[in-house]
Symmetry: D2
Subunit: 443 residues, 4 copies
């Protein structure tokens, strides 16, 4: 048999191979796509998405388009764009994509604006950047009918009706709820992250595996026998802790919440303060959703040769500015490994130590690996697709609040996933349902 | 050194040893007790508790009494009473206890009434039996001031003011929320089970370990290499699944909720219908909180020699009546093991199979072992003690609803537990708090 | 259905129930018994066994008798005898048993002599006591034909021909190999412990589970979140480490062998010196096969409230004499828990700490639980039964050495066990066998 | 700070970065190198190595050269060569390297010959190819003094004295022992693989992690919830099984050896025949060291979409010829993923299924990832370095047999590794040593 060579393919065709490979692991989205093709529930809607431009996202875009929507895509992170995927969406699916891997900040935001200039009626976000940008537009009262100077040009009827947005990440949802609390939120938002089929799986199993994957690709070091400190014991943190332990590491947990810290202890993990952890750990990974978790004092205290990485959404968890200021020199020793050399004691300039930062402190799984595996994105993006449909169905009835997708949809997604995996389970019998609802039966 | 012999001690003194041994593992309750002794926050209150009469409960009773309450205790399960503990409470602590191990149903309910006859102003429940009993009294409108025939005798002033109750179990809370939904709940209730420091620990780590303990004591069989099916993947079920796997079993999960079933799959467990599970499993354990999870058809399909047990609150999860009806004979082969012999095929009476039921289908950890370890009850009962204090502080202000204890108390309990274990962890810095609350910072 | 009550049974009938319950989990021994009944391979042989008198041993004795042997049994440990089992063997199987639970040292050795006085031609040992005793007899040159004063009385023909012995434990095998090295071994011995189907399973899965079982029954404390130090990382130690971790503990390993210590590290365990471990551990368990692993200096350094137990064969691993000497007082606080109070500092007599010793430092699984589960003893005792047959078949041809049972028998036992569990696996194909044997095929 | 860019470096300088990164994780080899630099134990020896040309191997070569040897290196696998590493060894260390990534079979063997033409006195092998090639030379009786036509040219004195070889892999050792058994082995060989510090770590932890790494890089699929069948439960297989489970997979084991199969069961794994496994598994990985483990009948039975890979030494474990013959088409869908499409039923040509083969059936960790992590190679190569020293020291005294490195060296390597990790552990006390050696102490 003659063997094809991927190297000979065009960028767009390479992207197509990648999109199809991902599709293989996205059976729930596939089922929704099949229904969307038939029912066209998004017919005539303009939909703007700001997501990591990956093969999985491509499958979501194709699904939304199958549902009748006109789709516009930009990147939610300047570094995560897979250029071949973008090319394939443009060439094979005629979906406009505004994203180039490694684009600078100015281009990044101009790309967000390009999507907004299409006057999308529904938006999708991964970190709330698009919604934030949208809020900087002048918005006419609560209906969000925008007809000011800038956007009027785009709209022949002088009106741009906006139905709502959905948000993918914990970080974005925290941001949006803060906006809601402040009365600053001007649109209805579906917190896709709040769906069980999203955060119980994507955050835990997706981040868990892909962070290990990123660590291995970035460093190729043996995990067994290493001490790994994980800062943050939320869904991402515990997913990562399970995997790190599963690869043979001794795992330390740093967590500010008492109940989570105690859970970690009861699960057999060691719990420590960051200051104590950095003195014994070989590797430290942050997944807190917060800022400067590894700060100047920690770099000072850290063990020589420590490897530090971040798997939280933003690259603020490691204070790299502080590290740069402390360092005598910095050099790249592997593609995703920067070696900082810092003076260890005040008086002896020869006494230095090395600190290794992976992927410039950005999301390790996207920087050094390929992001979340398709199988978890399957459920996250099934939520996204259903969220778009639900927003459209309920247009006009929603308030400017952060919503959760109805629990039945969440259950339905899990059910479809189980079926796709060939797994069957019991339903409650009528007698059992009645028993659960009744309070009269007792001891 | 001369050696004491426990056998020579009186029942009450044996109980005291047992209570003191448990106290060793209850540092949070100990701290609350110390504070209660000083502050007397329950001064003058009559408090009736319907709980498993165990060494841990004894420590809670002593704590409440230290806080100034007059305490009355009855059993929440006819089989779980530790008679020596009861004797010790009476002798050493002057706390009236209405409970005898193995008491019949009539005595059981008369004991509940004995506690109610003391006209408690606050009650504590483990399965909602006391509250159910309380609701069968004639109650004068919503204030629950009782001055009818039966109870007037007990009350010199003709009035019995009731402040509220607390409930320990998932099962009880389900029952109480059903009552609330029906408008049948006439008192405020604190769902202690809803505290994170209760259900995240007691249900998961307590039930997990103590069920394995009960299984080992009841059967002494090797778990490694066995197939164990666990029905129910709530907190109890997953705690048990972790432990069963940790002991070397191959674990099958049966679960009606799709999301939980999918979680089980992603955690590497097999998921199956009960009918399929009973055909391959060596051991089946129910922890669903529901009824007839193992029913006639499952007994019919089950593998010869299967061992079946229950760790859910009520003994309704295994349909023992159906099993008895199907059986040719039944005999006890070990203290907590009943062997049922059933005819395997309709036409061949010699073709029989054996089914083993542990602890008569009652809570395995209480029937065959010593219930939850003190260390988890420490937190559950810290919640109970604080719930009593909170009910009293907020008397008159509460509605006839199911409440959760304030989250700060929950956190405080976790914090005390960590401290008692010698574990320190970070707090959020001011900068980090600000970051979490702000939505302006972005990509 | 009328329910039988175990309490009403005679001691021997209670023992029978227990023996039958164990038999359920011993399918390999059952298959051997069936063959022995037919083939009578031990016809006419006198066989003396010094083993823990448990339900599993009873099944071995019955198997040997089925093979035609005349069997005599004494205990290998004064504390592990199950009196009901002994009674059942005497009553139901007419096998003489010389063992009483709790017998003193003098009685213990007189019981060993009672077995030897039956002039057994094959012996079985668990700790090499019977062989040691045998060697104290006057022996006529290497053939071990004994016709001296003491034993002549027992033998009508003045000759007692001895074929060989088998040994169950690591400890016993170490002892016997030391004897062989010294030229002191006067009989052939089969080291049953050297069979893979013995030490890979009994030591690892048996000791692992039953030690946890003993710990739970002795203390009822929560294992999750505790720090457990395990001294010794041989088969027993790593079996125990897996189980302790599986129950949620944070596990520390103390091991003198560098390679084993490094393995422990790579498996994600912490490795520490005993002195460091006792300062942080909640529980310490010794499984080294060596002496004074926990010694005076460790008691001095230990954390207040530490629980110490032993699961190695002999009760020498914890230096209890040293502890007794250091202690101000000692009392029993639970059936298998002794509390030692020792003065913590030289100058302040009020400053004391408590050390808890389980089961008087004897094998925890036998002291506080029911010993190894039947399922592992199934394979160990299958080895014993086949060892007896093999010794007899090869009588006269064996040297005074420590032998291993032929590897094919070992494989056969594993194969039978798998079949009994309903598990099938592949055999090598002819092509695969050839490939493995050939060195000509290469890159 | 100015940032260097790895892309701008020369191939040799890229290789140097990679070698130095590996060196960071090879503290034991570093210590040996330091000693070798001082002692020069290999002074004047010609040493030929046939190993995977990786960064770790480079560090071994540098160590041997530091010891005074003249070193020649060729590849042990045509696909595993890291060209930059080869370039760096040549440029920075003046070590001749005969290896090009992707070289064809003819070039591969000519490279082996290039090393042999240097008349090495000691050789190192990874799969026994060099030794096999050496044996095809005409050899003058047992002394292996070679002075025949071909090699005379290389030797001015007409004699090439050969001291011995060492072998890295299980596969190679099996091959060499087969040669020894056949009387075909003409040189002494050290089976480095037999050292505990090699096979207990490299095979188990190295293969375990790097196979997962290869799987992730090749496919990027989610492992959690997948069914992974592992063929072979030797050290490599169980290492892989631990990691696959640790990543959340449900693991099936296929194993021909009964004892190993039973061990797998007792460790909680499912054991199945390959035919049954391929019908349910999502992924199958072979690590048997044998041939055609996945054969025509398995492809026929396999689940649609199954992913099959090999982590055994040779690419014979999957019968790719059979698969190619059965297939209608084959195409590359990702860099290391070949999709074979085969007709599922005889009569319906539209009914096809897909089988995915990773890395063309070659060692997955080398094909798709970077081979074993440096930390395990540290110990393997410490064994290699010490083996070379030991062969030289004992030259003339060794027979044409397969040797194991003395156990003290093995222990020493483990001890050095522990020290480098900052871990201390106890030594036996004099009393404990005496106890272990004595057989007089008993019950």
């Amino acid at each position: 048999m003659k063997q094809n060579d991927i190297k000979d393919l065009s960028l767009a065709d390479k992207g197509k191979l990648r999109i199809d490979w991902a599709e293989r692991e996205m059976p729930v989205l596939r089922l929704i796509k099949t229904r969307f093709e038939k029912e066209k529930p998004l017919k005539g809607i303009r939909l703007g998405a700001c997501l990591h431009v990956t093969a999985e996202t491509a499958n979501l875009m194709k699904t939304l388009k199958s549902g009748g929507a006109e789709v516009f895509l930009c990147a939610s992170n300047p570094l995560s764009t897979q250029d071949d995927v973008a090319a394939s969406l443009v060439k094979h699916d005629e979906i406009p994509v505004f994203a180039i891997k490694g684009e600078d900040s100015k281009t990044y935001f101009s790309h967000l604006n390009s999507v907004l200039e299409a006057c999308p009626q529904i938006t999708m976000d991964d970190g709330a950047d698009l919604v934030a940008q949208l809020h900087k537009l002048k918005i006419k009262n609560y209906e969000l009918r925008i007809n000011n100077a800038k956007y009027e040009i785009q709209n022949t009827n002088g009106n741009w009706e906006f139905y709502g947005s959905s948000e993918e990440t914990t970080t974005g949802v925290i941001r949006l709820k803060a906006m809601e609390k402040d009365g600053a939120l001007k649109i209805p938002v579906i917190a896709v992250n709040d769906s069980d089929t999203k955060h119980l799986f994507d955050n835990r199993f997706g981040t868990g595996q892909s962070t290990i994957d990123g660590l291995l690709r970035a460093t190729n070091i043996l995990i067994a026998g290493k001490i790994i400190a994980i800062c943050g014991f939320g869904f991402c943190g515990r997913g990562l802790a399970d995997r790190a332990r599963g690869m043979g590491a001794r795992v330390l947990i740093c967590e500010t919440d008492s109940i989570k810290a105690l859970e970690a202890v009861m699960m057999g993990f060691e719990v420590a303060q960051v200051m104590d952890a950095v003195q014994v750990a070989d590797i430290v990974i942050t997944v807190t959703g917060d800022k400067h978790v590894i700060d100047e004092k920690h770099f000072k205290a850290a063990k020589d040769g420590i490897i530090i990485a971040n798997s939280g959404h933003f690259n603020v968890e490691i204070n790299l500015d502080a590290l740069a200021k402390m360092s005598k020199s910095k050099r790249k020793v592997r593609e995703f490994v920067d070696e900082y050399q810092i003076q260890n004691t005040k008086y002896d300039i020869r006494n230095t130590k090395k600190i290794y930062i992976l992927g410039e402190g950005r999301l390790l799984n996207l920087a050094a690996a390929e992001g979340h595996p398709a199988s978890v994105m399957d459920m996250s993006f099934a939520n996204q697709a259903l969220a778009a449909e639900w927003i459209f169905k309920n247009r006009g009835k929603l308030q400017n609040k952060v919503y959760r997708l109805p629990v039945e949809m969440d259950q339905e997604i899990a059910e479809l996933k189980l079926k796709a995996m060939g797994i069957s389970h019991d339903a409650l019998t009528a007698e059992q349902k009645k028993y659960l609802e009744s309070w009269k039966e007792g001891t």
